[in-house]
Amino acid sequence: MRDVRLLDQPFNPGALIGPFTNANPGLGGVCTFVGEVRGGNGIEALELTHYEPLTLSGMNELADDAYARFDLMGLLMVHRAGLMHPGEPIVCVSAASKHRRDAINAVDFCMDHLKSAAWFWKREKRGDGWHWIEPREEDYSDRDRWSD
């Protein structure tokens, strides 16, 4: 089962994973990553903007790439946009496969690309106002691990 979604409202990853797992009978393993808005450092809110004409189609291309590269039975890729608060899920990627390595690697691959190659921009609200989050050098090097 393939399920790629862009959401502008809070979501509960736990409510997605059960049905996703059940929709892939015969699987050997499911790997799931859930990213949340980190608390601490005075962060009050986080806002993700995106460019509508590119975002969802870009996520679908990323899913295509993951299917081409790994032996997958199913892939769930859900990304929030809009205003979020600490503790709220931003992203959930889950991959089902016969073998654990494909499931784990597919999640790793999708997360690296969502971080530095999908059309999202992130800013944080702290006590002194809003601050854009620049991608870190590490985000690029993480992504470049896959360019072989």
């Binding site: 590119l54 971080k115 059309w119 854009w132």
Partner: protein
Amino acid sequence: MSGKVIVLFLGPLGDLAGAESAEFDAPLDWKGLLDAVDPAVTEQLQLDRVNVACAGKVLGDKTTLQANAGDEIALLPPVSGG
């Protein structure tokens, strides 16, 4: 919208432009875009890490920009998703 192109300033570029979007006369090419926008945005546009989309497609070479009346141009700074 006829006779105009819309330019969207995504992410931090909106702060530099002082607006989320602007309208300019069509047609608009790369040189025209660089001249039309705020100098702070022009400076960013010249960096490799800033992409440009026109009519829903990211340009492989942004200097080939050729926007016609009604087109939407999106200026895309480095992303930070996930």
